[in-house]
């Protein structure tokens, strides 16, 4: 009975539900349910606009609720929301805000389509690539509007992930955010086989990783007798260094490392990032990473601080491996999306290096880094989504992602190329961009904690990574047209309804503002940089 009590924490009167504190999660999930109904009952022609408006409104409302709470955290933080299933602490609020911001920008890119009416998704996901059925669906002008409920479900899972109060809620959130992403990855309009392959790989490996997470939860339950994070944290001090507990925690971390794309659990990243529809890549590269880091932060900072001495060597190993591999393999990539995938791996390593210091500075640095990285990532993939290849007759085809196709883009689409350069500069951590401030924050936290190996590796990797970011700038602006036409034709900016441009502009503005005057935002981040410790 004791166990049941501690798992579910129910009593005779039932659970009190704090609707306001849960609103950010519930609004999005509720909207997702409504969106499913929209799919069923709204006439086909009206579906797309209704879905877009619904999902954008839901994310905006959720984000505003989060912002309201984040501005007055002391009024809202609580570790007993919905029983003990949800822990609303300041750092988690910040993560929710970052997820909502990036999700909103990501949604704009997802909702955009070219002036010819082509969006990034296949007209009929169920059709076999290259079949007659697919052809018919395209000619009929079908639109796959169930993208929007899927994105909303994923966003809802991401909003819940960082505030989960017990391992079970966390696992449910993990699955709620993952399953829609597996589907979304397989829905690309062009190169459908690559997309479906990515989807299947993501699903298989994701299931594998989830199993580790569950397995780890079981070990921890075995060691502590509870799934509740507070109870676990409390028994840590009593149990001390229990091998069962240690292995359990490491297995939980592995599940989360998979989601953030840390080495050696990263191998899905390049394939999935490349195969998924680019707007979805941007969405998941930003939001999944933020949410998964949110969960990782919760586990590391509020559950296991008493084990940090034992965990540090393993965490350091992962951080260093992630930075080095992401950077070194990124150098040899010839595809822009793959290159950004490796860059995402390297960034996960940079964030980890601040995070594993277990200091407030490290927490602030990681949070700030996550926010700015998410925004810039959506912007960067937004630009990639707009660069399409043009064949000999001038027909617009799929996305031009090979580096060769980007040659001389600075002349063909100067504004997009300029914006992309800014995102690359922030990824490289050049001063006056938010990326510099973020890198400075995490590395100074690492040095401040005496983690010289992490800090120095981070600096060296940043220097090497700058090479492949600058190479793209050089290719876009300083190299002539290739002697032999690139396979598939050169890339050029496509004309769309303009939603992507809005997202890119906002992302660019945030990137530059947080790079030039970061102080106020760092203060804001700092004010939310703590967990309610048990």
């Amino acid at each position: 009975m004791m166990f049941h009590q501690s798992i579910l924490n129910t009593d005779a009167t039932g659970i009190a539900i704090e609707w306001d504190r849960l609103a950010p999660v519930l609004i999005v999930l509720g909207a997702a349910v409504v969106a499913v109904l929209v799919e069923a009952f709204v006439p086909r022609k009206a579906r797309r606009p209704v879905q877009i408006i619904l999902s954008i409104l839901a994310v905006v409302a959720s984000g505003l609720m989060t912002l309201m709470m984040a501005l007055a955290p002391s009024d809202y933080i609580s570790n007993t929301v919905a029983g003990v299933a949800v822990n609303l602490d300041p750092a988690a609020l910040y993560i929710q805000l970052a997820v909502a911001t990036s999700a909103l920008l990501g949604l704009l890119v997802i909702a955009d389509r070219t002036v010819q009416g082509e969006d990034a998704f296949t007209p009929q996901a169920a059709s076999v690539p290259g079949s007659e059925y697919e052809d018919q669906a395209r000619r009929a002008g079908l639109v796959q509007t169930d993208v929007y409920p899927l994105v909303l479900f994923a966003t809802g899972g991401m909003m819940l992930f960082p505030v989960a109060g017990d391992l079970l809620t966390m696992f449910v959130a993990l699955e709620v955010l993952s399953l829609p992403l597996y589907l979304l990855s397989g829905m690309a309009r062009h190169r459908r086989l690559l997309s479906q392959e990515a989807s299947l790989k993501y699903f298989l490996l994701g299931a594998f990783a989830s199993a580790f997470f569950l397995f780890g939860s079981a070990w921890v339950f075995g060691a502590t007798g509870s799934l509740n994070l507070y109870v676990i944290a409390g028994s840590m001090t009593e149990l001390g260094m229990d091998p069962i507990l240690l292995v359990g925690v490491i297995l939980i971390c592995v599940g989360l490392f998979f989601k953030v794309g840390a080495v050696p659990f990263h191998s899905w990243t390049p394939d999935v990032y490349q195969g998924a529809p680019t707007p979805i890549t941007g969405f998941m590269a930003a939001c999944t990473k933020i949410a998964a880091f949110g969960a990782l932060l919760r586990v590391l900072y509020s559950v296991v601080p008493s084990l940090k001495v034992d965990l540090k060597p393993a965490l350091w190993t992962v951080a260093i491996l992630t930075m080095v591999l992401g950077t070194v393999v990124g150098v040899v990539q010839q595809d822009v999306k793959r290159m950004l995938a490796y860059s995402a791996i390297a960034h996960a390593g940079f964030i980890l290096s601040g995070l594993v210091t277990f200091t407030t500075d490290g927490l602030t640095g990681s949070l700030f880094y996550l926010f700015t990285y998410g925004v810039a990532t959506v912007g960067g993939f937004g630009v990639i989504a707009l660069i399409r290849e043009v064949d000999g007759e001038g027909h617009m085809r799929g996305e031009a992602t090979a580096l060769d196709q980007w040659r001389g883009l600075g002349r063909r689409s100067p504004v997009l190329a300029g914006a992309f350069s800014c995102f690359l500069l922030t990824f490289a951590g050049i001063p006056l961009t938010s990326g510099f401030v973020g890198k400075f924050a995490v590395f100074s936290a690492a040095f401040g904690d005496g983690a010289w190996a992490l800090g120095l590796t981070g600096l060296a990797c940043s220097a090497v990574a700058a090479f492949f970011y600058f190479r793209v700038i050089v290719v876009m602006f300083f190299s002539g047209e290739p002697a032999q036409p690139a396979r598939g034709g050169l890339g050029i900016g496509v004309r769309t309804n303009g939603l992507t441009q809005v997202a890119i502009t906002v992302a660019l503005a945030l990137t530059l503002v947080l790079g030039v005057v970061p102080g106020w935002f760092l203060d804001f981040t700092q004010s939310l940089s703590y967990f309610i410790m048990p």
Binding site: L200, K201, L204, L205, F208, A209, F212, M241, P243, L246, V247, I250, L251, C253, V254, F258, V263, P264, F265, S267, W268, P270, D271, V309, D310, L311, P313, A314, T317, V318, L325, T327, V328, V329, G330, V331, V332, Q333, V464, F467
Partner: protein, 648 residues
Amino acid sequence: MNGIDLTLLAAAEAPTGVSLMWLVVAIPLASAAILLLAGRAADAWGHILGVAASAAAFVVAAWAFFAMLGRAPAERSFNLGLFDWITGGDFNLQAGLRIDQLSISFVLLVTFVGTLIHIYSVAYMSHDPDRRRFFAYLNLFVAAMLLLVLGNSYLVLFVGWEGVGLASYLLIGFWNQRLDYAVAAKKAFVANRVGDVGMLIAMMVMFAHFHTLTFDGVFEQVQADTASTAVLTAIGLALLLAACGKSAQFPLQSWLGDAMAGPTPVSALIHAATMVTAGVYLVVRSGPIYIHTEGARLAVLIVGAITLLYGAIVGCAKDDMKKALAASTMSQIGYMMLAAGLGPVGAAFAIMHLLTHGFFKAGLFLGAGSVMHAMKDQVDMRRFGGLGTVMKLTWVTMMAGWLAILGIPPFSGFWSKDKIIEEAFVGTGWQPWVFGLVAMLGAGITAFYMSRLFFMVFHGQARWTDDQHPHEAPPLMTVPMAILAIGSVDLGGILCLIGFAKWLEPVTQAAGEAAEAEPVLAVPVITVATLVLVLAGAALAWVKFGAKTAQVPVLPPPANVLVKAAREDLFQDTANDVFLVRPGQAVVKGLTAVDGKVVDGAVRGIGCLVQTVGGGLSRWQTGFVRSYAASMLAGVILLAAIVLAVWL
């Protein structure tokens, strides 16, 4: 003690004229900006705006001057705060102006002579398509020079210091389509940069020891003996290096002759009357430092003495009219430097000589410009002669300048230079004899080479090249020349009569009352001996170059080794080449090689390594889910092993 008084005065209300002094910098600066930004659109009226800006600055300065005159001598010093410039940690610097007897003298000189030269340039540059740009640079120079003398801290001074360097560079290379002119501009800039390093070092040492860069703050602490003599000597020597660069003193003098590549009005204003005297200003302004450091003060004296002889000797051999005048400028600034090194009393005469020199040397240069104007830009004095009859006005104005620089009473140079020579004889031990005799000898040589110049140009037989039709310059040129000539005649006498040295005392004797001392020779003896030497020099020049019987060859005659050396500027360029340029180039070549081979090689090597490793590692990315899952499993085992290893 005076330093404290001055800070108190800062709080006192400055009279209207003085509180508007920021305008004297702002007006020419704004004008320069307008002229540069408006571009060709301003070609039609650019020169008028340029002249008006300079004249307006003079009016404001004169207003401030009269406002100052209305106050007691001790209350004629003002600090005018402008804005908080640098605030960081415990270092706060307010950009401000310091208006006192010394700076107002400079401001009046710069704006008055500057305005005359602006007017002169309207005619002199009338055929140049880039006249507007010329005026923009001139205005920029005026603004920077005024900021230099008005700044209330070394840092503000340094802004002006760099500004005049830039303006000088731009104006020397104004006709940069000619390679040698562009090279001359670069040479001036580089030589100045060497001096600037001295300025920077001085400021850094000051900041390290005094935590302030304002004049008041630094001098107060120098008075209070917070720094050791060694530190003060270091500051003094570094400041002297800065002064040498800007004022073309030994050993950084080589750029001034080449700087004559600029248009003649530039030579008159920047490279004779004002900018090159900035070093003297710096040394006089830093008097409270030099008075506490015998070593640095002696260095100033030695530099001044060497340069005054150096310039005089070089001047004797130059056939290029402007270069002869440049050598003379160098020599005269050597006199000022010598005087500035002599202490508070000498400093007053240094500034007085600076003012009289500003007038007569500017007048001489403008006269030279008038001659060039008449002779199709020719400068070789061997091809002149007999011009006195054709260009009466130029002849008269240059004669005034010539007599002034010779120091013939009652022309203005006599009053200031004679005082310097007298003051050089003051002291004990070997110093008064060496410096006094050098100063006196210099006066004699000056008389020779200046008379040589004057006679070769205006007297003797005409040795013109074919197709020369000399004519008098237009009134826009001759009127400024005439006004400067009037100054050359009487400015010295007037300054002496009104007690200029006394007027400067609050500044020059800020560090305390200077004791009156008698020279080691009786004053009349010195004066008479100097005059005899001067007359002898002039007479020699007359016999060789002026008299009807004198034969001046049109080509430089073969000469002995000493004359050759003088013609080659005493091998200063060769010396620079051997001691500085070539070792410098060798170092640069070495560093380039190291950069190319070692640094680039290392970078390339790392690049290759990363590429190779990356290529190898990317093979791990097989595309097979089974191998991905295997690597994940391996990762889990690895992490579990690490954790358990730590636990064990």
